[in-house]
Symmetry: C2
Subunit: 192 residues, 2 copies
Amino acid sequence: MENKENILKCALDLFYAKGYDAVGVQEIVEKAGITKPTLYYYFGSKYGLLETLLTTKFQLFSTALRNAAKYDGDVTATLNRVAMAYVKCAMDNQKFYMLLMSMFYLPRENEAYKAVKPLVREFFFIIKKMFEDAKEQLGNMNHREEQFAVGFMGVINCYLIMICEQGEGKEIRITEEVIRSLVHQFMHGINS
Amino acid sequence: MENKENILKCALDLFYAKGYDAVGVQEIVEKAGITKPTLYYYFGSKYGLLETLLTTKFQLFSTALRNAAKYDGDVTATLNRVAMAYVKCAMDNQKFYMLLMSMFYLPRENEAYKAVKPLVREFFFIIKKMFEDAKEQLGNMNHREEQFAVGFMGVINCYLIMICEQGEGKEIRITEEVIRSLVHQFMHGINS
DNA sequence: CAGTTTATATACCGAGCGGTATAATTACGG
DNA sequence: CCGTAATTATACCGCTCGGTATATAAACTG
């Protein structure tokens, strides 16, 4: 079992650095110090390896977000919880997070995008539902729940990517204060 | 010269649909109805083709934004102008815009990212400078110009990508009113 | 210890990759 | 109408791609 996890780790490193399409199976097995049949024994195909990598690691994000996104009557508090949980997951799994981001923006007919598509859907479903539940407090969103969901995650992701870029590789601490200010910016704009 | 532009067009279609790494040179020349040496005569390499495609088409964005981003003492008005110009460019060149977006989020060691990197830098330099010029009106940004630039473009891009996704292929009309509401959301938040 | 399952390596497959040497064709100025 | 330069095609290069048939080693199971 040691090999399997090692392959996943090496694949993540390479996919993160170059992207799924630009990495060959040969490259992965060399980095992992094994041979091709071993990889194919565990994952069946290069695409299967990607799927396994994505679905297993995505569990963390999914459960953390699902817990945080339970609307409790206070929009700001809920948004803060979600943002905290999300940022924590992202920073604890920085490479995986950046891989997810890059794959989310992949062309829609790219094979690798098909692997993230269900994850993206699940993801936005959670956030969108949160905004729907907050209808009472937010008032007439008139069907802008989706726009809000996209915008909210967009603000956070843009910030995280900017930070990740600057502190390339180094460990990054993002304080609760910063997260709260991001949520505040989403709700009240930049000059308030 | 007819061939050259045809190759560029076909390359854009394919890169847009599948991504640079997932498209072979053979595929491009077949779609363009020519043979490989013709492509290599004009562009020297697959990467050279990408560079030519990016730099020529990016001119539009660059000049349009540079004109719109001249700060005139009114932040809201300037942001509106920039957003209008940007959205117009993006919608007039939808495939190219989506290609740019997908490449912007490419892993940093991916070869194709090296081709967009200078464009991205130029792009953000323009937006960042606009926020710096608006210092008098926006007040104490205390070095958050970059964060604002990233956030502003992030909001617009997230919205555009969402729209492009829904109206896949069809022509898209985005009214000035919608753009103004996006700028308003950036400045004053969602519930104002 | 025999039999079976699990795990790994050697050596190979056809196909497609990016790229090119050579030659034929076209366009055009003298 | 000839020579030259700009274009385009035929046919090929070595290499890497994703994937596999076969054999072997290790680890359980009875």
